[in-house]
């Protein structure tokens, strides 16, 4: 069973959206099962990829099989056996593998409990500590998200060869680290889960970084991050941080239609048309944010979700409960101290006590090396100076912030603000 050169959308009949969704959900489960059984990440991934391609070609013509997961598992296992047969050094293992594959095929109709756990284990494996953040992200999207290397390369705007090398190296490093296909235990598991959440949030935010041309593909990344976080939440419903991250993503994603105007320029939260926020997504995010806060331990995603929920709760920007937002930033500052959090708190404080109080808080950040030259500090200072009735000073800081950003949309926005407050000739 070899299908070469056929993309998922090749062939005379296209795969329906529901079948494509099904493939994306099943592929990591099948991969997880194969890796658990045979232990070779790379070979198993190739085998599953070929099975997915075979499905993409055959299902539209023959119809989706009654047991699609079993179908994929059988095809992938056969493919793996073919591959191992061609490898003389592995001859000894052949019969064992063939027997396993036959057993797999025979038992394919039974949905083994713990299939989703396999997807979770796979996700944990892709977020291995030996990898860089960029490699974790790429491997997660490839192995768990089921995106093709070409799709990931397009989303991150790098050549396919660059992305292929990165993914292949990531798999080699995981193998070299001697990883086993199992969830880490105890404190390691907790720590790895934090890394998993960080990777998912990175993917989500990548979808919102408009610093490159392919804005359309990048929006898909946010949707993919939500899908994967939903999966983790379904597996670990008790974890407040997972719940908080999902809430934060949904509450942020609900604004996607109005956070830029037709010309692609940024629209700040205060000026967004809230009637056009995705209400269904807001409602779901609000409920999750509330549930997350009920968890025994409080982490940064839960607090950020609570802040997003406070904003979502206000029908207009003027009705925002800034006292609560400020209080939540104080909590966040305590549990996850970071100058960017203090920067955000300065904005909230300015709303509660006036711009002078916000500016005073910013003054304390000037000496912080982690924020030195950060354009967000200049942007917030410009904004608060504008509100204090000092357009001349605001103009200079808006220009300073515009020089510092790496985002074209943000630069355009900041230069626009600058020209609004520009002092007369």
């Amino acid at each position: 069973m070899r299908v070469k050169g056929a993309g998922p959308l090749a062939g005379p009949v296209r795969l329906s959206a529901s079948a494509e969704g099904l493939l994306r959900e099943l592929a990591p489960q099948v991969l997880g099962g194969l890796v658990r059984r045979y232990g070779q990440f790379e070979g198993c991934q190739d085998a599953v990829q070929e099975a997915v391609l075979a499905a993409a070609v055959r299902w539209p013509a023959e119809g989706v099989p009654g047991n699609p997961r079993g179908w994929l598992a059988t095809v992938a296992a056969r493919r793996l056996v073919d591959e191992m047969r061609s490898d003389r050094a592995r001859r000894v293992r052949e019969s064992a593998v063939a027997a396993e594959a036959a057993a797999e095929a025979a038992g394919a109709d039974v949905r083994v409990p713990g299939d989703c756990d396999d997807t979770l284990v796979l996700l944990f494996l892709c977020c291995h500590p030996v990898l860089s953040a960029a490699s974790r992200t790429a491997l997660t999207l490839r192995a768990v998200g089921g995106l093709t290397t070409a799709e990931i390369a397009r989303a991150f705007l790098v050549p396919e060869g660059t992305m292929a090398a990165r993914i292949s190296r990531a798999k080699q490093r995981i193998r070299a680290a001697g990883s086993t296909f199992a969830l880490p235990e105890g404190a390691d598991r907790e720590e790895r889960l934090r890394v998993v959440l960080q990777v998912l949030y990175l993917v989500f935010n990548e979808g919102y970084t408009a610093s490159s041309g392919g804005a359309l593909h990048r929006a898909d990344l946010a949707g993919e991050a939500i899908r994967l976080t939903r999966m983790v939440h379904a597996q670990l419903p008790e974890d407040g941080e997972v719940c908080g991250l999902l809430a934060l993503m949904l509450l942020t994603h609900a604004r996607r239609g109005v956070r830029t105007c037709a010309a692609g320029e940024l629209v700040p939260l205060a000026e967004q048309d809230r009637s056009r926020w995705d209400r269904g997504m807001v409602a779901e995010g609000m409920a999750l944010a509330k549930a997350a806060l009920a968890a025994p331990a409080l982490g940064p995603y839960q607090v950020q979700a609570a802040i997003a929920a406070t904003h979502a709760d206000a029908a207009t920007a003027a009705e925002t409960d800034w006292v609560q937002v400020h209080g939540l930033y104080l909590v966040l500052e305590r549990i996850a101290p970071n100058p960017v959090v203090t920067l955000n708190r300065a904005v909230a404080l300015a709303e509660v006590e006036g711009p002078a109080a916000g500016l005073a808080l910013l003054a304390g950040l000037d000496g912080d090396g982690r924020l030195a030259g950060h354009h967000r500090l200049a942007a917030v200072r410009a904004h608060l100076l504008e509100r204090s009735g000092e357009p001349g000073a605001a103009y200079g800081w808006y220009r300073e912030a515009a020089r510092g950003t790496a985002s074209v949309a943000e630069q355009r926005y900041l230069l626009g603000r600058a020209s609004r407050v520009r002092p007369g000739p």
């Binding site: 960029a134 292949s168 790496a406």
Partner: protein, 123 residues
């Protein structure tokens, strides 16, 4: 994050090097390119012809005006670049430090983050 690592060269400095030193530069770039390809951080790299071969194009009164020679007359000029996609600026700086030019006084290796990019990257 994408960074352009610009190689600012000075022909006078390059000509003053011994043959061994020149060969070491070539070999150093070759090894650097291979290492970047393997780590999945190289997007592309280019070397440019001498600026004397450049021309400057402007449009005046609706028609193009072409002037032979570079836009800027300077001792140093952009000889080529590496376009890389790596973890952060710290990594980009560490990569730039491995370029042979960085070890030669009078040559400049400049790191700048990419702000916008578009178009097909496979050539």
């Amino acid at each position: 994050m994408k960074f352009l690592v610009g190689l600012h060269i000075n022909p006078v400095v390059l000509e003053a090097l011994t043959d061994e030193e020149k060969a070491a530069i070539g070999a150093g770039h070759g090894a650097f390119i291979e290492a970047l390809k393997e780590s999945g951080e190289l997007i592309t790299t280019l070397a440019l012809v001498d600026p004397s071969q450049a021309c400057v194009v402007s449009v005046r009164e609706g028609g193009p005006v072409v002037t032979d020679g570079p836009f800027l007359e300077a001792k140093e000029f952009l000889g080529g670049f590496y376009l890389v996609d790596c973890e952060d600026k710290e990594r980009a700086v560490a990569l730039a430090a491995r370029i042979p030019d960085a070890g030669i006084a009078g040559l400049g290796v400049e790191v700048r983050q990419v702000m916008f990019s578009d178009g097909p990257l496979e050539a």
